[in-house]
């Protein structure tokens, strides 16, 4: 399984190096990867449906309990098949949709990176590795939304999406760490038995709230939903794949995965039902006011995600079965609708529902796909959408004393979604063909075949629900910790209230479709409420934060090096001084000091003279040179106190420092009085205070008893373990070699920084 995940990453890395060479010529071959993975995962269907759970374990950071554990059970199998299956169709579709695009290789790179990350997410058993993959999906989504990087709007949408899902990711990390510290493990499989313990833990509410934070942002629940319509700036294959079929379901996946661990608790259930209900109704209403096909689909996707959260919140076998089926239903019909929207946009040049009409005459196969998808979305038999809708009604209708309210809400949502599906799947194809679309041509079969395949899926699974019942739905419900044996999917349940509700839904929805026409006027009217929307509130506070941090930065990063140094020193003096003042005991034992030798005294006198000369000289070069004398004097002190390594290094460093100073100062005018008398006094006081504080600090440190365990260990083992007699060097290259490794990397980065600062000529006039 690890290899299956790594394949996508490997391919995207491969494209980094060879993409320019192939120039998108092999784009169709790229589709082989998701296809191969689909076949790979499909072969597990038999074993999974027998109740087997396939696991794989790779040790990663065992000391922290962070490992690469992968679990393939009903839940992850369904998601894996969806990711690879729809991935395959999207890869194929893209090869025609973005044919000849300058950055096609880049696009495939991001897309396969996303696929790999998403697979890793749904297969991970370890919460920390799940978090890593979660973040990777956010990042690849950021690049894909901003793929059209010359458009300001798409860059902004990408940033908003990244910010929202990124906050959710952090919330997931914190939640996972809490969960890990409560249970003592990061493995979800091991947490399964601990539900009662976790639920009685005082941190339960906090953990659940954090996990919700992650799931709601990723799955675009109210009030974090607004990034998703913005994300529709991405090319249509991306909207299909990430922002409808897979990535936005990551939140749903997380909730389902953790249902057996955290679920069955009042807080869990109530919050999910309320948030899900608000989201599904709110965004379903929004679809009425949109004229852009993608906008309609975006809001109906949010609404569908709301339904899923709503169902997971109920937590009964019925509800989770309904959720499982609805995930399949939604993936099939919504992906179809998105793909045909892409075709319409590509061939007819517009996505405006108010002008699109009669396209069936020019895009016949696409029209069939749209029609079937709309039927499934409306839940009209014999599509699988009908089964999904029946199950949903079934679960809400039997949900205790809230049944009437919940059923009412879901029926309203379904009516509105039927309208949205019809507008997106049927409306563009019916009626008379306007003159401007008469020359619309059929796209390449690579583009129209994928939606047709998906649309056929809607029908086939509807007529033969047995195909998914035992293989996907039952194992999925079982993996959420419930008994899925009683589940039986069928089209006709007999004449009962549920069927009546279905009839009402379809009838009212159809009436709505024929009476309400989407117009620009409605869209403009609803835009007035924009200023109360969560998006406006968040982007306003965003702007405020931006202004504030700008002002803050300008206050401190004012470009004067001396001010930086002064600020740092004032802070150090204030904080250290306060701490010393309140806690230190000033028990300095002067008798313990060794007597001052002649060499020490002589060196100190040299230093004092050099300091005086540095401060009062009127020549820069002389000041630098006498600074060098101070440095050398310190080196001599090191030599006296037998630290030859330190002294050697310090000697070389001081030499180079003087050279550097001279190089810079040599070119400056002879002497300029930059600071006046007052400033010099201020600086002098500051320096003296700083020196005093450091001296006091060192005296305090010396008064403390020293723990020599570490240095004794190094001294004792330097020769035994590392074959070296010079302990300092052995520590540098062996005992703490990783530190040195990082230090030299930092050095290299600093050098590159200097090089870039001095060589980079941004202005044309500076270029030589």
């Amino acid at each position: 399984m690890l290899l299956a995940i790594l394949l996508g990453f490997a391919f995207s890395l491969f494209l980094v190096f060879t993409g320019k060479f192939f120039k998108g010529r092999i784009s169709i071959l790229a589709a082989g990867i998701p296809l191969a993975l689909f076949v790979y995962f499909a072969q597990f269907i038999g074993r999974i449906s027998d109740g087997e759970v396939i696991t794989q374990f790779h040790s990663w950071i065992p000391a922290f309990g962070v490992n690469l554990g992968f679990t393939l059970d009903g839940l992850s199998l369904l998601f894996s098949l969806m990711i690879t299956g729809i991935g395959f169709l999207v890869f194929v579709y893209t090869s025609a949709y973005l044919k000849g695009h300058k950055y096609l290789d880049r696009f495939y790179g991001y897309l396969s990176m996303f696929m790999a990350a998403m697979l890793g997410l749904v297969l991970s058993d370890n919460l920390i590795s799940l978090f890593v993959f979660w973040e990777l999906t956010s990042i690849s989504s950021f690049f894909l939304i901003g793929f059209n990087n010359t458009s300001r709007k798409s860059r902004k949408s990408a940033l908003i999406a990244l910010a929202i899902t990124g906050i959710g990711g952090l919330s997931l990390l914190v939640g996972s760490i809490f969960l890990g510290s409560v249970t003592g493990t990061y493995s979800i499989a091991e947490m399964l038995t601990m539900n009662p313990e976790i639920a009685s833990n005082p941190y339960y509410i906090l953990i659940v709230a954090l996990i919700f934070g992650a799931a709601f942002t990723k799955s675009a629940q109210f009030p974090f939903h607004f990034w998703l319509p913005g994300a529709m700036k991405a090319p249509t294959p991306v909207s299909t794949y990430l922002h409808s079929a897979t990535m936005v379901k990551a939140g749903i996946y997380l909730l389902m995965r953790l249902t057996p661990v955290l679920g069955d608790h009042e807080f869990w259930n109530t919050t999910l039902i309320i948030v899900g209900a608000i989201t599904m109704v709110y965004s379903a209403i929004h679809t009425l006011f949109r004229t852009d096909l993608k906008g309609i689909l975006a809001y109906s996707t949010i609404s569908a995600l709301g339904i899923l959260v709503f169902l997971i919140g109920q937590g009964t076998v019925d509800a989770l079965t309904a959720a499982a089926v609805f995930i399949i239903v939604h993936a099939l019909y919504k992906a179809t609708l998105f793909l045909i929207t892409g075709i319409i946009d590509y061939q007819a040049g517009t996505r405006d529902t108010t002008v699109l009409r009669g396209l069936r005459k020019v895009l016949f196969p696409v029209a069939i796909a749209g029609f079937l998808a709309a039927l499934s979305s409306a839940g009209i038999p014999p599509t699988i959408g009908f089964i999904g809708k029946e199950l949903t009604y079934e679960s809400t209708f039997h949900f205790g004393n809230m049944a009437i309210l919940l059923t009412g809400l879901i029926v309203i949502t379904k009516i509105l979604l039927l309208y949205a599906g019809f507008v997106a799947g049927i409306k563009p194809f019916t009626g008379t063909l306007p003159e401007r679309f008469e020359n619309t041509k059929m796209p390449s079969f690579l583009m129209w075949l994928p939606p047709v395949i998906l649309a056929l899926g809607c029908i086939v699974f509807g007529i033969f629900p047995g195909l998914i019942e035992g293989s996907l739905v039952k194992p999925m419900v079982s993996s959420m910790g419930l008994d899925g044996k009683e589940i039986h999917l069928k089209l006709f349940h007999g004449f009962n209230v549920i069927l009546l509700l279905s009839v009402i839904t379809i009838a009212l929805g159809t009436v709505l479709y024929f009476t309400l026409k989407p117009t620009k006027k409605l869209e403009a009217w609803v835009a007035k409420f924009e200023k109360f929307s969560p998006q406006t509130i968040i982007s306003n506070s965003w702007a405020f934060f931006f202004k504030f941090s700008n002002g803050w930065t300008n206050l401190f990063q004012n470009g004067y090096l001396r001010n930086y140094v002064a600020t740092i020193m004032v802070f150090t003096i204030a904080l250290t001084g306060y701490s010393l003042f309140t806690t230190a005991n000033y028990a300095v034992d002067f008798n313990s000091f060794s007597t001052v030798t002649f060499y020490e005294a002589a060196t100190s006198i040299v230093m004092l003279v050099a300091i005086g000369y540095t401060v009062f000289t009127r020549s820069r070069l002389a000041a630098v040179a006498s600074m060098g004398i101070i440095g050398y004097s310190i080196c001599i002190l090191f030599v006296i106190y037998s630290a030859p390594d330190l002294a050697m290094t310090q000697f070389s460093i001081d030499t180079l420092t003087v050279i550097l100073f001279v190089l810079v100062l040599y070119k400056l005018p002879k002497y300029l009085k930059l600071s006046d008398y007052k400033m010099r006094i201020r600086d002098g006081v500051l320096s003296l205070a700083f020196g005093t504080i450091i001296t006091l600090l060192i005296l305090e440190v010396l008064a403390e008893p020293v723990n020599k365990e570490v240095s004794d260990y190094y001294a004792a083992n330097a020769y035994i373990l590392a074959h070296g007699k010079n302990v300092v060097n052995v520590i540098l290259v062996d005992f703490r070699g990783s530190d040195t490794m990082i230090e030299i990397s930092v050095l290299a980065i600093a050098a590159i920084g200097v090089f870039a600062l001095l060589k980079l000529r941004l202005k044309k006039s500076d270029q030589r």
Binding site: D645, G724, V730, D734, G737, T740, I744, A751
Partner: protein, 137 residues
Amino acid sequence: MKTIILRTASTYLLPLLLMFSIFILLRGHYSPGGGFVGGLIASIAFVLHSFARGLDNTKELLKIHPGFLMPIGLALAFLAGVTPVLFFDLPFMTGLWYPDHLPVIGSLGSALFFDLGVYLVVVGVTLTIIFTITESA
């Protein structure tokens, strides 16, 4: 600063200082020294040369831009650290030692290559910074 004495001396000083820096590098494991100091001394040698004979001459002498020494050194240090992981299944940065003592160097081990990497990085960093500043000053 291009006095004839310094110019003549630098011809002899450069190889001497470089040899000294390598000497410091090699003895580091037993006596004071090591890659860090060695690298600094080598840098000083080149800086001295550039002072005496001009930056262009030093650059010509070096053939490659000193910046390229940084990735080479980093790669060498990283390889020294990662070799035990790849070939001996030991943790990262485990010291490997050639069993016999060699003349002059003493024990030969992966730490020496690591130190050599540090040496190269230090030379690269110092010279890059100083040369860049010299050029733009």
